[in-house]
Point group: C2
DNA sequence: GTCTATACACTGATAGAC
DNA sequence: GTCTATCAGTGTATAGAC
C-alpha cells in the first residue's frame, strides 16, 4: 500500500515538473511569436520534450495558452498590492512604480503576452479583465480620489494616472527591443535602468503634486 | 498612340487603386491578428478581392507586410515634427502629446501593428529603427537637453521623458480594448478622451517643471 | 488584369506501440 | 508516462485559362 501511494506521489511530481517545464517554454514562445505564431513543436523544442507529450499534459493549444495567461495573472495579482491607508501617496506610488518597473525587467515575457492579448482584442481574457482587473482598478481609483478630495495631491483623474503608470512601466517590457536598438543595440545597463525608474517616479510625483520634497521646499 | 498611353495610365490607376484597397485591408487584419495570424485569404475577404489577385499585387506575404509597415512609418514621420526653437517647452510638448493622442484615437491600427512588431523583436524593422527612429530621437534628446541646460525645465533624463510620452499616448491605441472593458465595455467618449489628454499634458508638464502656470504662480 | 485549380509544406491533433 | 507514425485541415504560393 505505501508503495502504491509513493508511486502515485511520484507520478504526480513528474506531472508537476513537466507541466512547469512546458509552461515556462510556452511563455517564451508565446511572448516572442504571438498566439498563432506559436506552434506546439516549437514549444516542445524549447521545453526539450517530445511534441506528443505536450498534448498529453495540455490537450489543446488553447488550453495551454489559457494556463500561461492564468500564470501571468496570478503572478501580478499576488504582487500588486501596495495601496493602503497607512502610507502617503508619494510612498505608495513610488513603491508601486518601482515594483512594476522591476517586473518589466525581471519578467518581461508575461507583459508581452498580455500586450499581445489586448491588441488582439482580449479574446481569452475579457472575463478576467471585466472582473479582477476592473475590481482592482475601481478600488485604486477610489483611494486616489480620496487623496484628491483630501488635497493630498492635485485634482487629477485617477484613471488617467493609473493608465499612465501602467503604460510607462510596461513599455520597458513590451518595447524592450526598441529601447535596446535605440540604446545603440545594447540592453539598458543597471545604472540606466535605475535612472529611468528614478525619473519616472520624480516626474509623476511632481506632476500630480505628491512630491514630498516639493511640499517641504515651498 | 494616345490610346496606348491612356491604356497604360488606366492600368496604372487600377494598380494604385487596388494596392491601396489591399494595404488598407491588410492593416486591419495585421493589427487584429498579428503577422502569423494574418492569412492572405482573410486580407482578400476584407479587401473584397480574390485571393490570387493579392498575390498578383504583392508576390509574398512578407512583401505585403513590409509595405504596410512602411506606410505606417511614412505617416508618422511626416506628422511628428513639433520640436522647434521658436516655442516654449510647454507649448511644444503640449502639441506633441495632443497630436500623438489624436493619432491613437483616429488611427490605432498602425500603432498596434508597430507594437506587435516590437514585441516580436523588430524582425522587419530593425534597420528602420536603427536609422530613422534613432535619428529622430537623438535630435529631440538634444533639444530637450538644451532645455535642461538652460534651466527651462527640471534636470530630467530626456530619453526617459520621450519614452514616457510614447508609452502613455500609444497605450490608448494598443490597449484600446482593455480601456474599453475597464470603462464598462464602452469606448471612451470624446469628453473622457479630452479629459485624459488634458490630464496627461498637465501631469507631464508639471512633472518636468515646464508648466507655465506654475512659473507664473510662484 | 482576373480568377480557378492545385501543388506542396506545415500544423493541430490522435492512435497505438512501448 | 513516453514516443513514433500518421491524418485531416489549412496556408502560402503558382500555373495557366480567360
Amino acid at each position: 500500500m505505501p508503495l502504491n501511494k509513493n508511486k502515485i506521489a511520484h507520478k504526480a511530481s513528474i506531472r508537476k515538473k513537466n507541466e512547469r517545464l512546458i509552461l515556462n517554454a510556452a511563455e517564451v514562445i508565446f511572448a516572442a511569436q504571438g498566439f498563432k505564431g506559436t506552434t506546439i513543436s516549437k514549444v516542445a523544442q524549447q521545453a526539450k520534450i517530445p511534441k506528443a507529450n505536450i498534448y498529453y499534459y495540455f490537450p489543446t493549444k488553447d488550453i495551454l495558452y489559457s494556463h500561461v495567461i492564468e500564470d501571468i495573472c496570478d503572478f501580478w495579482l499576488q504582487s500588486d498590492d501596495f495601496f493602503d491607508d497607512l502610507n502617503s501617496p508619494a510612498e505608495i506610488l513610488t513603491r508601486y512604480i518601482n515594483a512594476k518597473m522591476d517586473f518589466s525587467r525581471s519578467r518581461p515575457l508575461g507583459s508581452r503576452i498580455w500586450a499581445n492579448e489586448m491588441i488582439r482584442g482580449a479574446q481569452y481574457t475579457k472575463d478576467y479583465v471585466n472582473k479582477n482587473v476592473k475590481n482592482w482598478l475601481d478600488d485604486r481609483i477610489k483611494i486616489i480620489q480620496r487623496w484628491v478630495d483630501n488635497g493630498d495631491i492635485d485634482p487629477i483623474d485617477p484613471r488617467t494616472l493609473i493608465y499612465m503608470i501602467w503604460a510607462t512601466t510596461q513599455h520597458y517590457a513590451d518595447f524592450g527591443m526598441q529601447i535596446k536598438i535605440l540604446n545603440g543595440n545594447k540592453q539598458l545597463s543597471d545604472k540606466q535602468f535605475e535612472t529611468a525608474k528614478k525619473n519616472i517616479v520624480t516626474i509623476i510625483l511632481k506632476g500630480i503634486g505628491a512630491s514630498n520634497n516639493l511640499k517641504i521646499a515651498s
